[in-house]
Assembly symmetry: C2
């Protein structure tokens, strides 16, 4: 099982790892198929009856440590099957689109924020960090279980989505001067380079979060995404 | 100089460490007094003429590594004197108040967002992580140089500030139904426990970021702070 610490192995088998009692509880109430559970006797004594999984193993804390992606492994390790992609082009809702997001913590935080604002579809460029990265799963606080996250050729997908596309741009209109529409796509760009030119060319509504102080160079990508999601979803 | 890797030593002398060319450039254009510069010959060859510091040393990359708080030290290390506290009770502006923020990355991101929205005063509870923590300095992207950050008995300070205090609370009014006033204080609580009861009792305007999805338990503290700062500052 320790081989699943390698992202490559998880990619090949279209599975992902979930760790700790909190995330395990989220996984057990989600629609995801649980393939394998490895847990301590303590955790199993409480949860054995509620597990629906192909295989369950009792492991020692030391064995758990060998499996874990984290410094302090915590009672339970699970292997889940990834979701099938789903076409959301005819969605009537707000869709989040992510262009080349690199930092797992940022992606997890954006999924958590999307979950808060009721955004159920997230379309990522194929070079955005995997939503099944253990750090993303953890920092999403369970949002990854409630959100459809798909990886596509993003400029091509944006060109074919047929609904307004909002994207932050220094040449954009201030938020307060811009009307909001739903359905729509909210496009968020890379942490240091912003939205790529190919994706930007598909933006129909360039918007600007006003730089009131005039001294800061930029906002953190997850904070900017949060402000824009609140603005569009509320 | 390596002793300044210890926060205690920095606290005793009321100094803090700044590293890397980007932060060093911010420090050199700020109002902070630079006590010591340790830099590689390469960095000094470009910047020696523009340094205003009590002492400057040329160091080897290996010596820099011994000084650094980071895995990959970068050309220049500086020791700066901390700012004197400043009473901002008569400020006519928006003030950010932080109650027991623990994570350096979150504090840095909040300072960066405050800088973007033109908030120049941040009042922290005495148990909030130090704004002079190297990770805070780094993740603030220079905002720490442009913001007055003071540590106080926060409930007592809130009780005496005499202006409206906005704070996020599950019992609060949705943002869209709430008028904004300036001057005001925006109070942000701890990452997992929210605003403490002592500070909450001083909140005059409890507000709520609507949980539209209804499934997420909470927002990341820096994201919630960003949404509230945008709402109050715009």
């Amino acid at each position: 099982m320790a081989a699943y610490r390698l992202q490559k192995r998880c990619d090949e088998e279209a599975v992902f790892v979930v760790e700790g009692p909190k995330m395990a509880a989220e996984a057990m109430t989600s629609a995801f198929v649980i393939r394998t559970v490895c847990a301590t006797a303590e955790w199993l004594s409480v949860h054995a009856d509620s597990i629906v999984a192909s295989e369950t193993f009792e492991v020692s804390p030391m064995e758990l440590e060998r499996l874990s992606n984290f410094k302090t492994p915590n009672q339970v390790w699970m292997l889940l099957e990834r979701k099938q992609p789903k076409d959301c082009r005819n969605s009537k809702e707000l869709i989040l689109a992510l262009d080349k997001i690199q930092d797992p913590g940022n992606l997890g935080t954006m999924l958590r924020t999307a979950d808060w604002f009721g955004i159920r579809h997230v379309m990522c460029s194929s070079d955005t960090v995997s939503c099944y990265n253990p750090k993303v799963v953890q920092s999403s606080m369970g949002a990854v279980f409630r959100t459809q996250v798909d990886y596509v050729d993003l400029p091509q997908w944006l060109a074919s989505c047929g609904i307004p596309i909002y994207g932050a741009s220094l040449q954009g209109q201030p938020l307060n001067n811009t009307l909001t529409h739903t359905p729509a796509v909210l496009l968020i760009g890379n942490e240091s380079r912003g939205i790529s030119p190919e994706a930007m060319s598909q933006v129909t509504h360039p918007v600007l979060i006003p730089n009131i102080g005039g001294t800061a160079e930029s906002l953190n990508a997850a904070v900017a995404a949060g402000i824009l999601m609140h603005w569009l979803a509320s």
